[in-house]
């Protein structure tokens, strides 16, 4: 729809369900900076700053979502999105080569925490940076309504490939696909046959008996809620931070252990995500008196088509992944059931997740913000490792910076390191909802369950719990 914004007509589009899901995190008691992504990508090599500046400009020109703006209609209060034409930009350069790593991280975390002028303003900032030890690259901070982690990876890859083409004569990368076309496709989904099928699927899920909340600290929180609400049978939980303040802790799994997981996945034809989800699920069962009913919020990238892989923007949806398993279920049966449930979820992942969460709260009388999952999980198979390979041995490091806020109480991301392919487990957590000790405890047991399970695929969940 054509809208006149500041005297210029722009083709405007409503926000997608993925963007609305993100913005809901802001509404739930937090502030704007929670929605910032801060990332740094650095190569251990001399960089021609003028060529990198040119590569960044070309990449922004090719990536519509890096030029996205939001506009709030003053008459209706509705939020619209539009893309502004590309304009050449001068990206500042900062030399941190003499700085200590801690000071650099503090500075970049601080930059990441600066909120954008959400309505009308530019929603990204890029600077070129030199780090100590010969690393050069760029940092960027972008509003989460424009980019998600898959987009960050696609954009970074594009910048580096353009740079390598300009400076080393390597092949010029294929164009990015259009973000606005992906938005239009999302709009076409509304009222389509596919939406009807997805709705049927999710309605069937809502007809199942009420799920059981399982907290990563054990049953204490649910017990307290039951006491507060004078309802001994209450099954929904309420896990939210009043200020969104948060932090991240990263655990690095060594390459050898990562390979064990990958080989197991190959041997049994299982996705890595199902193996990790099995471990998290079993730990939640263990911490909650051997609960047989466990729900984890599963994040789905929705980047399966070639166009969606390269369109930038935000496409991530989140859904409750609920599994009910008796304690005599074997490890392999558990992983296969998780895979089956996840497969169903993938098929129906275009559906608006807010309708699913809203439907659950409405059906079972949950309070606003109520949940059955204490943990959000995503496995990011697409990594920057491919870039490292194309750079033929040039050391590459990728850093994620914290805005000081977190969108979810406990958000676990498993992602392969670009340097050696080993798995990193990022725990993003809200400080009101978890302590570093509780996270250490959760990671410790997740690792124990994971490797006991891989070593004993025919043992039952109960046996694995008893072994750990």
């Amino acid at each position: 729809m054509l809208k006149n914004i500041g005297g210029i007509n722009y083709e405007c589009y409503p926000l997608t369900s993925a963007q609305l899901l993100n913005l809901t995190n802001i509404k739930e008691g937090t502030t704007d900076e929670v929605e910032n992504i801060g990332a740094g990508q650095y190569l251990k090599m001399d960089i021609n700053i003028a060529a990198l500046r040119e590569a960044l400009n070309r990449a922004v020109e090719r990536c519509e979502s890096m030029r996205l703006r939001l506009w709030k209609d003053p008459d209706t209060g509705e939020t619209w999105q539009y893309v502004v034409p590309y304009q050449n930009e001068y990206f500042e350069y900062y030399d941190f080569s003499a700085w200590k790593e801690e000071s650099i991280n503090d500075t970049l975390n601080k930059w990441t925490s600066q909120p954008f002028d959400t309505f009308g303003g530019k929603l990204s900032r890029i600077v070129i940076i030199t780090l100590p030890d010969g690393y050069n690259g760029f940092y960027y901070n972008v509003h989460h309504v424009c980019m998600d982690s898959s987009s960050v990876i696609a954009f970074t890859k594009d910048v580096i490939e353009i740079y390598c083409s300009l400076f080393y004569g390597m092949p010029y990368p294929k164009p990015m696909s259009s973000y606005l076309e992906s938005v239009k496709k999302d709009m076409q989904y509304e009222g389509s046959k596919k939406q009807q099928r997805d709705e049927e699927y999710w309605q069937k899920q809502l007809e199942l008996p009420e799920p059981m909340y399982t907290d990563y600290t054990g049953p204490g929180r649910l017990m307290q809620l039951r006491k507060d609400n004078k309802n001994k049978k209450q099954k929904w939980g309420l896990l939210a931070s009043s200020d969104g303040k948060g932090n991240t802790i990263t655990y690095e799994l060594n390459v050898e252990s990562t390979m064990k997981i990958m080989e197991f996945a190959k041997q049994y034809d299982l996705p890595v995500s199902a193996i990790i989800l099995h471990a998290i699920r079993t730990v939640l069962a263990k911490f909650n008196n051997d609960s047989t009913d466990v729900t984890i919020t599963d994040l789905v990238s929705r980047r399966s088509t070639l166009d969606n892989k390269k369109c930038g923007g935000v496409r991530m949806h989140a859904f409750p992944l609920r599994t009910i398993m008796p304690m005599n279920t074997t490890v392999l049966e558990s992983m296969r059931l998780i895979k089956k449930t996840q497969d169903e979820l993938f098929v129906h992942a275009d559906y608006d997740p807010l309708k699913v969460f809203g439907g659950l709260a409405e059906k079972f009388g949950g309070a606003p913000g109520s949940t059955y999952a204490s943990v959000d999980f995503t496995y990011q198979p697409g990594t920057l490792a491919a870039i490292g390979e194309s750079l033929k041995g040039i050391a590459f490091k990728s850093r994620w910076y914290s805005s000081g806020k977190q969108p979810k109480p406990m958000y676990i991301t498993a992602m392969h390191r670009p340097s050696d392919g080993g798995l990193n487990f990022f725990f993003g957590y809200q400080t009101e909802c978890a302590s570093p000790e509780e996270i250490e405890f959760l990671y410790y047991f997740t690792g124990r369950v994971l490797f006991r399970s891989i070593e004993n695929p025919d043992k039952t969940i109960k046996e694995i719990i008893d072994m750990t």
Binding site: K194, R197, S304, K339, D343, V347
Partner: protein, 75 residues
């Protein structure tokens, strides 16, 4: 039906449509991963107007297997 299937498949993987046959295996020959397959099936379900059973359909390893499955569903 094969032509329509080729059209859907090439939205997901970079292959020459002419190289896709009923014998093409999704993972080994066409380069799908399990996530892409499930998403592609969601599209195919709407396109061919069939109801798929996620467990059953995962037994389909080739394009021909899938077309046979859809054919059976339509009867």
């Amino acid at each position: 039906m094969l032509d329509k299937m080729k059209e859907i498949i090439t939205q997901y993987v970079e292959v020459d449509p002419d190289s896709i046959t009923t014998e093409s295996r999704f993972i080994e020959d066409l380069g799908f991963n399990s996530y892409d397959i499930m998403c592609m099936l969601g599209d195919a379900e709407s396109e061919f107007d069939v109801n798929i059973d996620e467990e059953e359909i995962m037994k389909c390893k080739t394009v021909g297997d899938l077309l046979d499955y859809f054919g059976g569903q339509k009867k």
